[in-house]
């Protein structure tokens, strides 16, 4: 059915602009140049979904990890629960939440947040565990309290691992947000859904999603380089 719609739209356009490839649902640079503006809103919806979900997910997972760091027995149960959330397919998740949260941004964001939890939690815990015992002993010997130890020694040393988790969570969320339209969250997926056979459309919408993932990845990586200068010095 979408196919026919595209074909019709293509024919109309061909009469107007003389471009033939739209009728064949092809890859048409002219069409893209004419229509790029229709992707602006979905793109920013996609950015919004990703950034908000990852931010909330990071806040929750980071807090959980700090709690579990002091009480190690919590690591198993938290991993189990967030792991189960992570396993439920996103398509299903977007629907399972709808009877509770309705159709819209909230549902999309709640689901996306759930997917970031396991990734970030695991990386924060791994990072904190990997802090050398020598460094902690030295800090204790200098008279640091638990709190100071965490803030001045453990967290800075765990930062690369924590940010690695943030990067994975971000790229994963960009991908999953492509289905957020099923929950009424909009995003680039809605454009893909509208004309899945139209090559130009898929190239632009899909390309933007891939670029977004890459751009956010580079931003976090740059941030990591800036806040951990000692890593470069050692390398």
């Amino acid at each position: 059915m979408t196919f026919e719609l595209v074909a019709q739209g293509g024919l109309e356009r061909r009469e107007r602009s003389g471009v033939g490839c739209i009728a064949e649902s092809g890859f048409c640079p002219d069409w893209i140049a004419d229509n790029y503006d229709r992707y602006i809103t979905p793109f920013f919806e996609h950015v919004y979904l990703t950034v908000v979900s990852v931010a909330i997910g990071f806040a929750i997972a980071f807090t959980l990890a700090l709690i579990a760091h002091r009480r190690q027995w919590l690591v198993g149960p938290i991993t189990g629960v967030t792991g189960t959330l992570y396993t439920v397919p996103s398509v299903a998740f977007f629907f399972l939440l709808q009877p509770i949260t309705g159709l819209g941004n909230t549902t999309a964001i709640v689901a996306l947040v759930c997917y970031t939890l396991l990734i970030i939690f695991r990386n924060v815990i791994t990072g904190l565990r990997a802090v050398p015992a020598d460094a902690k002993d030295a800090a204790r010997g200098m008279g640091l309290t638990d709190r100071q130890l965490l803030l001045r020694v453990e967290l800075p040393l765990a930062l690369p691992e924590i940010l690695a988790g943030l990067r994975i969570a971000t790229t994963t969320t960009v991908g999953l947000a492509a289905l957020a339209f099923l929950a009424g969250g909009g995003g680039l997926g809605a454009e893909l859904d509208e004309q899945p056979f139209f090559k130009s459309n898929v190239a632009v919408a899909g390309g933007l999603a891939v670029l977004l993932a890459a751009a956010l990845d580079v931003i976090i990586l740059t941030f990591q380089r800036l806040v951990t200068p000692w890593q470069r010095a050692a390398a």
Binding site: T87, P196, V210
Partner: protein, 260 residues
């Protein structure tokens, strides 16, 4: 809670969920009428296609990535390839990859299967490589000292010891393959996503019902492979973990991205 239309009494209190569960078990008229939809028979057909395409993809992906991972890991070569394949896999999300395929390559069972294979390879390949590399150097030297050939070392020392890691990769892949197969209907493959993506026929209860089935199947597959993972873990490794250490859940502590 009042939204559940035509719900049988025992399920009524569940509201929309009850309606969805009823959709799974009992046929009903489609939204536009005229056609019977839902019920175990129709969902069973969808589930069959869903599982079939996922299984084919997983078998092919394992057949491709495990030998390559074993070889590269054993020779200690191609670390860059084995590790970066999973980073590339993450950069192009599954959904986007499927849409690219639909628009530029084609539809149907074969194309969906190819997408799922591409999706399943990175975690298995990376985990096999990492698992094989992790094997204690001394064990390999001891095996060589006993006169084992390269192939024997791979088969009898490296592979068994890498099994838990390999299975962790298979588990990750299986979960994402089952999840991605859900959007198969875009490529004219009637998987369990069919009711989800056609609300004009199946209504919300159909969408929710299929979502429940997809979630259950994925969780079951995850748990099943988790059990298999324990079964293939050599006893020596289980002993090394020891009962005295921090209790391990059936879920492995790490599930994805062994390389990071």
């Amino acid at each position: 809670m009042a939204e559940g239309r035509g719900v049988t009494a025992p399920l009524a209190f569940l509201g929309q969920f009850g309606d969805a569960v009823e959709f799974i078990f009992k046929e009903r008229d489609s939204v536009s009428g005229g056609v019977q939809v839902g019920g175990l028979a129709e969902l069973g057909d969808f589930a069959l296609i869903h599982l079939l395409v996922s299984l084919v993809a997983m078998v092919v992906a394992c057949a491709v990535s495990v030998p390559i991972g074993l070889y590269l890991g054993h020779k200690g070569r191609g670390e860059f390839l084995a590790i970066s394949v999973s980073n590339v896999g993450r950069a192009v999300p599954a959904v986007i990859l499927l849409f690219f395929f639909i628009a530029f390559v084609g539809n149907g069972f074969k194309n969906v299967a190819v997408v799922l294979v591409l999706l399943a390879i990175p975690p298995i390949l990376t985990n096999t490589y990492v698992g094989v590399r992790q094997v204690d150097r001394e064990l390999v030297d001891a095996a060589r000292g006993m006169g084992m050939s390269g192939a024997q070392i791979v088969r009898r020392v490296r592979l068994p010891l890498a099994m838990p890691t390999i299975f962790a990769g298979i588990r990750t892949s299986a979960v994402s393959v089952l999840a991605t197969a859900t959007i198969g209907p875009y490529a004219n493959l009637q998987t369990l996503g069919e009711p989800i993506l056609s609300p004009q026929i199946y209504d919300f209860s159909g969408q929710l019902g299929a979502a429940i089935v997809v979630a259950l199947i994925t969780l079951a597959a995850d748990a099943g492979i988790g059990l298999a993972q324990r079964a293939v873990t050599p006893r020596g490794l289980k002993l090394a973990e020891g009962p005295g250490r921090r209790p391990r859940l059936a879920l492995p502590t790490r599930r994805r991205e062994a390389a990071t």
